[in-house]
Symmetry: C2
Subunit: 476 residues, 2 copies
């Protein structure tokens, strides 16, 4: 049980707990350049599963994958003024090759709007065929001052979708459609409830007309932005001169969107489901869905044999790991727990005698004895469905409990200090938002999309009557 001792309890210090479980769960190690991480098999495996499920969903929705260069000449990047202003302090810049200086500085992509602009321009000039609905899975670099594994890293992995349309309404619709794809994906596959909303102007993407977001609540009551979808309008098509011929045979600038999610989702999983024993990975994205552990197998070759037979039976349907080593049973099971494997099977001499196995759920730690003849794909499929549902329900209950509507700034401050998501009538501008953040630490997360229509209430700061309610929270 040595490993378990290393984990700081969540209640004692959540930030320290997080780093403890990430490292002990064998997800990552730190890179050699500050703020970078090495994804080890346990961590990268989660991303591979996220990628494969989400990619499949995208393709069913008409998305084609491309891959564009990560190198962007300074002059190309500088054409959209808000965009370069927003990203400039974080841009890793190549100035030489070997010992030879370059003619022009080259940036590593922090996002690829400006290079997609070039592809779109050439394609549309040639074919005039719209819409184009592209996506790429890549690494990007944003040089961050303070970093946390998965949540904020200098280099991270993500997908970025980019689309062009002849019709602004079609583009706006797609922006929201992608947002709801993310929301459903988080629910169905990561067991994470979220709030789909629109960002305030202060919080929107540098260069966007409007930004939509998926906000998640971590176990310590903070907001984590997990995916965004931007309606870019003609903000990029004008400076980058992307025009199509419309039905009236006139040239018109195209309408664009972009949308993305990243390895931050792994952080969201850990901060939603993890406990004091380690991380808890939802079954559909876990690198190992089932761990088979032998108990005192070294004294009983029949135990090893049965474990191997089980492994062969299950591994054609599920991602299974077999640990038939001589390590202590307690060590093996705590290793499985700390790594968050959703289901573990223990099999020892006693089980063999009774023709049973012990099945342990990681989410509830509930043990059950299962007869050999009950072991089949249906059993484990049902169990995984149960686990996913339970994880979701627990997280949704927490989000519900920690979500509150207030009508005064005093209440607002009190609830923010207690770690709530606070919904408040608000019509303030960017400067007022900044004041609130300075005073309370909370930022405007979003205006919820699907909500009942609110009555006119006075804004908690300006006092002007407004129907708009903005959700505020402390965030990562």
């Amino acid at each position: 049980m040595k490993k378990l001792d290393k984990i700081t309890p969540q209640n004692q210090d959540f930030a320290k707990w997080y780093v403890d479980v990430v490292k002990n769960g064998n997800l990552i190690d730190y890179g050699l350049v500050k703020g970078t991480i090495m994804f080890k098999p346990n961590g990268y495996g989660i991303w591979e599963n996220i990628q494969s499920i989400l990619d499949n969903i995208f393709k069913k929705n008409g998305v084609s994958n491309v891959y564009l260069p990560m190198l962007i000449p300074q002059s190309q990047f500088a054409k959209e003024k808000n965009h370069i202003q927003g990203f400039n302090p974080e841009l890793a810049t190549i100035t030489k090759v070997g010992n030879k200086p370059l003619y022009e500085d080259i940036y590593i992509r922090p996002t690829s709007e400006v290079i997609f602009a070039e592809l779109f321009k050439r394609d549309i000039d040639k074919n005039n065929e719209l819409p184009l609905i592209f996506n790429q899975w890549t690494n990007v670099i944003r040089w961050e001052k303070t970093t946390t594994p998965f949540l904020r890293n200098s280099e991270f992995l993500w997908q970025e979708g980019h689309t062009v349309h002849a019709d602004p309404l079609e583009a706006r619709k797609l922006t929201r459609k992608m947002l709801f794809i993310y929301e459903k994906f988080l629910k169905d596959y990561l067991a994470i409830p979220s709030i789909a909303g629109k960002k305030t102007p202060r919080e929107k993407f540098a260069g966007a007309c409007s930004t939509y977001t998926i906000e998640v609540m971590t176990k310590n009551g903070r907001a984590l932005q997990c995916a965004t979808s931007h309606y870019l309008a003609q903000n990029f098509s004008k400076p980058y001169d992307i025009k199509f011929k419309n039905k009236e045979n006139q040239f018109e600038y195209v309408y664009q969107t972009s949308w993305g999610t990243s390895t931050r989702l792994i952080g969201a999983i850990i901060m939603n489901h993890g406990d004091d024993r380690g991380i808890v990975i939802p079954p559909y994205v876990a690198k190992n869905q089932i761990d088979i552990l032998t108990i005192f197998g070294n004294k009983n070759p029949q135990v090893i044999q049965k474990a191997k037979q089980l492994y062969n039976q299950l591994s054609s349907k599920f991602r299974v790991r077999l640990d038939d080593s001589d390590k202590q049973p307690g060590f093996k099971s705590s290793q499985s727990e700390i790594e968050g494997t959703p289901i573990r099977i223990e099999i020892g001499p006693k089980d063999l005698e009774n023709e049973t196995i012990t099945v342990v759920r990681r989410d509830t730690l509930e043990k059950s004895i299962v007869n050999f003849n009950e072991i089949n794909a249906t059993f484990f499929n049902k169990l995984m469905e149960k686990i996913n549902k339970n994880l979701y329900n627990k997280a949704a209950e927490r989000l519900n409990k920690k979500f509150v509507c207030v009508n005064t700034y005093n209440e607002f401050k009190e609830k923010i200090a207690q770690g709530y998501f606070v919904s408040a009538p608000f019509d303030g501008d960017e400067i007022i938002e900044e004041q609130i953040q300075n005073e309370t630490g909370a930022s405007a997360r979003c205006v919820k999309i699907k909500q009942k229509i609110h009555n006119l209430k006075p804004c908690i700061i300006t006092g002007n009557y407004t129907k708009k309610r903005v959700i505020f929270a402390k965030s990562y």
Copy 2:
């Protein structure tokens, strides 16, 4: 047929033909930084399929995926002297972020031996568990002076496997096992015959003890190195201090391998199978395996309906594209040919009358009339198998015809000038190899692994008797 006119015939100018078909086939467009390319859906789709098949094979062979940072501090890179010397002129170097200079220059990975070294060191120090068999799918940067799409680009996509072992023999075995995995993959899925061999010391990887290679012959008789597998011995473990505790409880440096293949494979496909009508993609990796084209569908809604029904029937089993637009039938079929789709189905009013479709093979351009009731998955599976076999056989025949054994330098020069792969008795050193290359343009490609034992013959240059035969060719 407008598009077809743009393709330069292979016999006239192979290099120009290549660029013509790559661009007309909608595979790529050029990036904004010299030597980079944008992978469009048709080009990236091939890489996605290569990746998914090869990744599956790797996983069945015990390989786990990881992802390591692309940023490598200068000081870490410089520890292995041959490695830094070999790569230095091609290293893209980050010297500042925004406007702030960095404390130390940072390289973008041209390959990741030195960052894997760090991961391995920490892992083994902690667990002393060997072997570790890791792989990553990434982008890398090597700043090349002259570039050709897919064959040589400043940024390219690849996979790089990295392993550590306690036993040098086990490491050597794995080096060769991976080589044969590549050889078989090229044959089974890309329909490309190849020569598996060992590089001469002059041609081996900067930092390797020995390098194995998969050499492919293009239609113009040049060699293309398509995959490599390196036995690194302790060349990295010593400068990077990667030690394990052996059975005698002594610290010992680990033994390592690395192996990789890249988007160059797409170039190999085009240069092996393409013809004057465009590219020809082997069915198992084609983005679209079947194109369904309506012929004069706009005059006959039943044609459209039947085409859609076919699309629905086939797209659950195959990657199918439906073009039911009003474009000219000739334009649609030449578009399908130029993009290299292995099978195309044409359906028009006459077909409908006869309850048939027209099936056209891209490799032979052979047309056949197929009854509605003969259309099923088995039919197309068999056809794809046939196409793959035919493409392989044609390429293998060419490789055979253009492969010659010589015994004198005069014969050697003659055959090299005629575009042959030339096998010659050779025991010369790196300086002699360089002389040969200066005089004939040919470089030593490899010493074939699986070959009959040769008689002692005098080396074509030194005259010393040797059993070793080295294959030379002009190469990309």
